[in-house]
Symmetry: C2
Subunit: 321 residues, 2 copies
């Protein structure tokens, strides 16, 4: 089968054997996949990953021990834990030290005609949810993770810092739970789209308020935390969602004197994400700025790096491979 392989230096289209699933796994034919900020960071060296990239997908089960799954359209959680270590036994399997992570760590990903995942990782996609929408399940789930970690108050004033796809998704998820939410970014073209769905936006250069209860940083920019800290009221909360290879300088005095809380946030629950997509509580289709066939995936990666671009999808459905 054809795959997009990252050899640690560059992206290559590579012909590889169709993977053979292990006992607890299923074989999935990829229907559609999304390019994520993490994929772009991996190509810059993040995680030191080598192999087939990609972790946002929707696919069709083509082989499984549980025959009832065959033919089902599925999305899949990306962490594959051991289920035996102390973290797994404490219900923290997303932090299993022995885990592999789809297209990110020790496990080939979904930018290929076929992929494998443990059966436990799969969620069946409801009929009303198109492939184009279902492929957003993983990032929408990552947004729902914030609701598990932060107790929002109906009187809260929240800023989502970053106007990219994750910023837009998270703004839609958190907005109903708080008094006021503003998505703050640098790209008016991207933010304009969010206004259509009833979310307030503001250009970063015009932002003045220093009394925000919760700031959610999804910029992926390692200098954004300084802006974020300056927006927060004393005892405010900063949620950091961006994974980047870089470190950043944090003003420790502000952190201590104002008793700020910082929360790192990663992968989230698929079920509420699929439900929100099915009920159109989170709108995602408008973010698809480009759709490429697999043959053009290297070009797609270049387009995805453009700061005005929201979501780039890879469509495998017409693939003759």
């Amino acid at each position: 089968m054809k795959s997009l392989y990252f050899d640690g230096k560059e992206l290559l289209i590579k012909e590889v054997p169709i993977p053979i699933q292990s006992k607890d796994e299923v074989l999935i034919k990829v229907l559609m996949a999304g390019i994520c900020k993490t994929d772009l960071e991996i190509v810059k060296g993040y995680m030191g990953f080598k192999g087939i990239l990609g972790h946002e997908f929707v696919g069709e089960v083509v082989d499984a021990q549980n025959k009832s799954l065959i033919g089902k359209r599925v999305v899949g959680e990306i962490n594959c834990p051991c289920y035996r270590c102390s973290f797994c036994l404490r219900g923290m399997s997303n932090h299993c030290p022995n885990r592999t992570v789809l297209g990110i760590y020790n496990r080939d990903g979904v930018f290929a005609e076929y992929t494998t995942l443990p059966e436990k990782n799969l969620h069946i996609v409801p009929n009303g949810v198109s492939d184009e929408i279902a492929v957003f399940t993983e990032p929408v789930a990552a947004g729902y993770r914030i609701l598990e970690q932060v107790q929002f108050n109906s009187n809260d004033f929240v800023v989502v810092l970053g106007d990219g796809r994750m910023g837009q998704i998270i703004s839609q998820i958190i907005n109903p739970y708080v008094r006021k939410l503003v998505c703050v970014g640098k790209h008016s073209q991207k933010m304009f789209l969010l206004n259509i769905y009833g979310i307030d936006t503001c250009l970063l250069d015009y932002w003045k308020d220093k009394n925000v209860d919760v700031v959610i940083d999804v910029t992926g920019n390692p200098t954004a935390q300084s802006f974020a800290l300056n927006m927060l009221r004393p005892q405010g909360t900063l949620v950091i969602k961006s994974t980047t290879e870089q470190s950043n300088s944090i003003n420790l005095s502000k952190l201590v004197v104002d008793e700020i809380k910082i929360v790192g946030s990663r992968c989230g629950p698929f079920e509420p994400a699929l439900k929100a997509l099915a009920e159109k509580k989170v709108e995602v289709e408008y973010m698809i700025s480009h759709k490429f066939a697999f043959e053009d995936i290297i070009n797609a990666f270049e387009v995805a790096q453009n700061k005005d671009c929201l979501k780039v999808l890879i469509d495998f459905r017409n693939n003759k491979g």
Copy 2:
């Protein structure tokens, strides 16, 4: 009266008028005061403070509207809020933007024969608590603040990073609430004292465990956060207690991938602190390495900067001023 004045550049013994308390305030004769890490940081430029330094004290009320207070031995909370702003009305008066802070921000401190504070800030010292012990109320209260912010689990493994006076106080406060607590530092002479009170200690160079549930950083060292983050398990908590003027670089990828929580922590409640000191649940007297008369306070500041020194007290009781 004699006072220790910081003019923004150097410390001076300065003769100033006895302060006149405003309507809601009391006049206090200082009996004993302690030199704190924050005082040492202010002399390096932290907070841009100019005026009479000092905020850890025990004193005797010599004038007050409430005559029943006169002659009482008191300690005092250091934040003087406005009680009118939105923070005060929300019960966050320690974060009042209009506040003055004793010997730290816009309010003269306690390294003087007399000081003033609002009556609301005072707590009467129980008879059984000596001046030498009572002067520790403010730092012990700052330790109790952590119990208000972090929900410890009886199965938790906690590291207190830093073997100075705050590290030793916090170790004693948190130890009864968790399965295992180790104070980790660089000074075996200081840590040896803590062992006597049943607290485990370890030299930083020998520390290997990366599975700690909560790390409390009280080093005052702006590079300590990297050590602290490496000690933590996924979803662990880092409490930062040091106020320093410097910033530090934080590994954001570790923060997000491991979903670490960081909590800034400052001033705390005086009542549980006084109770713990009265009941000897927190032992502090052994930390007094030096006691100076006010006349020697500039010398006392030099001694307090010595890394092997725990607590330096200033005794005003024999002062002839």
